[in-house]
């Protein structure tokens, strides 16, 4: 079974600074998809960024970028120029199927942004 591990229960960053959230996963497959989701206190999960395993280039979305290390099964999220609105729970997720019906989430990292 695939597992997703987020080893940092909590992280803190100063406003305008950069923070990196870690995620590792376990799979024997070569084709899969990885995601970072943000869950603010309102509980509504929002997709931040996604990466297809067959793509070597790291995904970027504005201030958010990933460091995808396929051999190491590592998928970290870098948030640059952190803003107060970035404060939330961040979940790393993995899916093998393009149906999404086997998506597995990590336990999450709570990010605090200090003004």
């Amino acid at each position: 079974a695939q597992t997703v591990t987020q080893s940092q229960p909590e992280m803190s960053v100063q406003e305008a600074e950069t923070v990196t959230l870690s995620c590792t996963y376990d799979t024997s497959e070569s084709d899969y998809y990885l995601f970072w989701y943000k869950q603010p206190p309102s509980r509504q999960m929002i997709l931040v960024i996604r990466q297809e395993a067959y793509k070597q280039q790291n995904a970027t979305e504005n201030r958010f970028s990933v460091n995808f290390q396929k051999a190491a099964k590592s998928f970290s999220l870098k948030i640059s120029d952190s803003q107060l609105g970035d404060a939330a729970m961040y979940f790393c997720a993995y899916t093998l199927s393009y149906n999404n019906n086997d998506m597995r989430f990590g336990a999450g990292t709570r990010l605090t942004v200090k003004p």
Binding site: R43, M45, L47, T95, Y98, N101, M103, A107, G108
Partner: protein, 117 residues
């Protein structure tokens, strides 16, 4: 509507009661998912619909859990004879269609927080 909505947002039930949780997906979305999120954990998959067909219910923890989507839009997750371990946030998500080459983005609702006393 503009997004996925769920009702109620909060539900308190006495142990042994039956509860029904509703999900209104984004109009036109074919795929619908239910997740259970325990306190301090990530969401865990419960079940998946494509239109009205329940294609995967492997994540439902027991036969007390039942989900339906009779007309391929609104879905209801029903929990019979609730137990304390059922206390969690129940998230619903929808997506436009099954991905052709890559998974399509899932849009999540705000969830229903169920507390079983």
């Amino acid at each position: 509507g503009a997004g996925v909505s769920q009702s109620p947002r909060y539900k308190v039930a006495k142990r042994g009661q039956d509860v029904a949780l509703r999900c209104d997906p984004i109009s036109g979305h074919v795929s619908l998912f239910w997740y259970q999120q325990a306190l301090g954990q990530g969401p865990e998959f419960l079940t998946y619909f494509q239109n009205e067909a329940q294609l995967d219910k492997s994540g439902l923890p027991s036969d007390r859990f039942f989900a339906e989507r009779p007309e391929g839009s609104v879905s209801t997750l029903k929990i019979q004879r609730t137990q304390q371990e059922d206390s969690a946030v129940y998230l619903c998500a929808s997506s436009l269609r099954p991905g052709q080459k890559v998974p399509n983005e899932q849009f999540f609702g705000p969830g229903t927080r169920l507390t079983v006393l």
